[in-house]
Symmetry: C2
Subunit: 164 residues, 2 copies
């Protein structure tokens, strides 16, 4: 099973945005994470398209979270970047071969597909139970002072570059 | 998030093997599922390599489960075919950029990675809670007579083709 590598960047970016005191330009987010702006742009666009962040225009513009961090779950971010599709995709192989399941039998999902879906629900529920606000708090518990440093570093940036 | 398509085939094959009264040649498993033998071979090899099934040689040979179906979990099969790697892979981006986490801080996993790992554990635990025996029972509850038909069809096969 494989997830888009963008999820790690997106979660880190959202956590930073949740603690920033002003909108953060995309190039500053990229710089802070040591990654190219082009690479990050794609994931920021996905977050923006999902309505989780938005760009504030103008001299002091940049990205900010669209909702309070306590109302953005980790699953919201994962879904925005990695897509809503289930990892296990049933291709109805039970309908193939010399003894195909037909008619009534196919109105309910295959028992195997159901078990796989239940497991993915458990995964989703787990990610829905944690918010970006929780993540930010965890980082600051593990590494006290992190957000102060980040806010200080962000404050030292110039607003002369474009927002996106 | 994406899982190998082989998982669906492997789970269906293991469920069939759990209800068969004799070893099933690979070409009969392929035929029963309406898929090419070459395609299925790869997944059967993965199951075999993981010790979940093994080939019985000889005229009436074929594959059989290596353990009772009640002792093979859905997760065992998923792991054999899809691999043991986590879907979310932390690349330690916290160590990049102008404010890298260093030293002591990096001895514990990043809070974000922990949340992702917890969710995957929930997924695995869910799949570990269901066995191939359970799957076979579910299919027969939803579609009574399925395994009788399958056993009958398998019994009507010839043993003249090679086992693998
Ligand atoms: S037919 Fe798709 S999982 Fe059974
Ligand atoms: S450094 Fe990898 S998830 Fe935070």
């Amino acid at each position: 099973m494989k997830m888009s590598a963008g999820v790690e960047w997106a979660l880190h970016c959202c956590t930073v945005l949740s603690t920033a005191t002003a909108p953060v330009p995309a190039h500053r987010l990229a710089e802070l994470h040591g990654v190219s702006r082009t690479y990050l742009a794609k994931h920021l666009q996905a977050l923006s398209k999902a309505g989780l962040i938005h760009a504030v225009e103008g001299r002091d513009g940049g990205y900010e979270l669209s909702r309070p961090a306590a109302e953005v779950t980790v699953y919201d971010v994962v879904r925005a970047v990695d897509g809503p599709e289930a990892a296990f995709r049933c291709t109805e192989i039970r309908q193939q071969g010399p003894l195909p399941a037909t008619g009534e039998a196919c109105k309910v999902p295959c028992g195997i597909a159901k078990v796989m879906a239940t497991a993915e629900r458990a995964w989703r529920d787990s990610l829905r139970g944690v918010t970006i606000g929780d993540l930010a708090a965890t980082v600051d518990t593990n590494l006290p002072g992190t957000w102060d440093s980040v806010r200080h570093w962000l404050g030292a940036g110039t607003a002369s570059e474009p927002v996106r």
